[in-house]
Structure formats: C-alpha cells, structure tokens
C-alpha cells in the first residue's frame, strides 16, 4: 500500500512534486510574513518605549493597537 502511495503507478514524481512545491511555498510565505510582522511589532514597541513617560501614557490610553502591540511584545521578551 505504501509503495502504491509513493509511486502512484509512475505518476508519483509529478504528484509529490506538486504537493511539495505547494507546501514549501506556503511554509516560506508563512514564515516570511510572520517575520515581517514581528519586525514591525518590535520596532513599534521600541519606539513607544522611547517616548517620554507622559506621551507614552497618553498613547497607550488612546490607542488600542499600541497597547496590544506593547503587551504582546512584553510577553515575548
């Protein structure tokens, strides 16, 4: 049975190549997208931390996005 699944009557090379190329592309794009997202989150969180205490407090109170990014960044470090 395993031999049938691997060779697929001679079509295995074409079928497995198609699935492998699709899987590989999906994995590469996923990790590249995640890396870019993490990079922006990190830069944004650092820029917020560099603000003066007063400005930072006002920003975190007014912007949900900023507060979420900072809290998730703090969890990762």
């Amino acid at each position: 049975m395993i031999e049938n699944i691997v060779y697929m009557n001679g079509y295995g090379i074409f079928v497995w190549s198609s699935f492998a190329i699709t899987a590989l592309s999906c994995v590469i794009v996923y990790f590249k997208t995640l890396k870019t997202l993490r990079k922006y989150e990190k830069e944004f969180a650092k820029e917020i931390e560099d603000l003066s205490t007063e400005k930072r407090k006002t920003l975190l109170e007014s912007s949900k996005v900023a507060s979420q990014v900072v809290s998730s960044y703090n969890k990762t470090i």
Partner: protein, 235 residues
C-alpha cells in the same frame, strides 16, 4: 456600525481570528491531504496523476478570486476613496500572486504526463501567465513608486485593466481550441465530477482558503502597525 471598522477593533478581531484558524488548521489539513492522496480514487483515464488537481484547481480558483476581489476593491476605492480598502487589496495581492504561480507550476507538472509537455502557449495557460504579470505590476507599483496616493491610483488602474483578463481566463476553454478540458465544477449548473473527487477537492480548497486568511490577517496587521508607526513619528 462604522465604528466597528476602526483599526483598533479590526486589530482586536485579527488576533481572535488568527488564533481560531491556527487551532483548527492542522487537523483540517491532515484530513484534506488524506482524502486527496489516499481515499480519493484514481481517474479512469489519467490514473493517479489526477491527484495534482487537488492543489492545481484550488490554487487557480484562489488566484482568480483574489484578483477579482482586488479589482472590485479598486473600483470602490476610485469612487469612495476608503483607505482601509487599499490595505485589503495590498494584503491580498502577494497571496494571489503565489497561488497563480502555483497553479501555473502544478499545471505544468500535470501537463507532462497528460499532454506530453510541460508547457504550451495554450489560451488558458497564457492568460494565467498574463494574470501573474498583472499581479507583479500591482505589487511593484506599491514597492517602487514613492507617494502613497500616486501608487494607489496607478495600482487601481492596473487592477481594473487586469480585470478584463478574468473572463478571458474563465471562458478561454470555450472560446478557443485549447488543451484544457472545460470546467467540471460549476457554480450555476450541474457538476461533471464524481463526489468521491469533489469532496477532497472542496476540502483542499477550504484548507487553502484558511491558509490565505491566515496570511491575509498577518499582512493586514503589519499594514496597520506600519500606519500607526508612521503616525507615531508625528507625535
């Protein structure tokens, strides 16, 4: 109602949706691949090479649907000039390009055992290649043209012009003599594909749609942070 569509609310829901998709994705992927590779029967003419269909067809559907969505958003954006819509189309374009390329490559791998060639300048294949070029143009405009408004205008025009190609791809198998067979799965009208093949095909499509949603949400989130980062500099 409009308050719901603020970046803060969208950002909150992106987190929730991403976690939900992550929790069900691998189980569904395993089920879909098992059906596609093991449980679905070989075709009476094409044998096991028909299994390529389970990645080729969903990839082509996603490539076409993504560009259609981008074009519709571009039309809406021309009329209403909603900034969030542009973020949506910018986030969809790379996913659409990837799946269009995958449809071309897997189609080529299917062509060799079925037609005896990896490539032919056939109407369907050529029009898919044209679609990939339109995707590239759309992405390059945002990458290389400085000035967001100018880039948005040009990319909107590219999307609307490229939209002409969508019905050409869809009906190319009927308008010209091509190597491609006519569509077996129809939204309107009865399908000419057996349920033992239709189920794995729809399962694979659903799993790839979930993957697209995951990438889209991450890209959209990145775009929101990029805008907030820009605004931070003005403080």
């Amino acid at each position: 109602m409009l308050k719901f569509f603020t970046n803060s609310n969208i950002f909150f829901w992106i987190e929730k949706l991403t976690n939900f998709i992550n929790s069900i994705f691998f189980v569904l992927l395993l089920v879909a691949i098992s059906f596609a590779i093991i449980f679905s029967p070989p075709d009476y003419l094409q044998g096991d090479s028909v299994r390529i269909m389970y990645v080729h067809v969903p990839a082509a559907w996603i490539g076409l649907a993504s560009f259609t969505l981008i074009a519709l958003i571009s039309i809406l954006n021309f009329i209403f000039k909603i900034k969030n819509l542009m973020l949506v189309s910018k986030s969809i374009a790379p996913i659409g390009l990837m799946f269009t390329c995958l449809a071309i490559v897997t189609g080529s791998l299917w062509g060799q055992p079925t037609w005896g060639t990896f490539w032919a300048w056939d109407a369907r294949i050529t029009s898919m290649l044209v679609l990939a070029i339109f995707y590239l143009l759309f992405i390059f405009v945002h990458k290389f043209i400085s000035g967001e408004e100018k880039a948005n205008k040009i990319s909107n025009m590219i999307a609307i012009i490229g939209f002409i190609n969508i019905p050409i791809i869809k009906y190319s198998v009927e308008w010209w003599n091509t190597l491609h067979q006519p569509a077996s799965v129809k939204i309107l009208g009865s399908n000419t594909i057996h349920s033992s093949m239709l189920v794995p095909l729809l399962l694979m499509f659903f799993v790839l749609i979930l993957y697209c949603a995951l990438i889209f949400l991450m890209k959209y989130k990145t775009e929101i942070i990029r805008i907030k980062k820009k605004n931070l500099k003005r403080l």
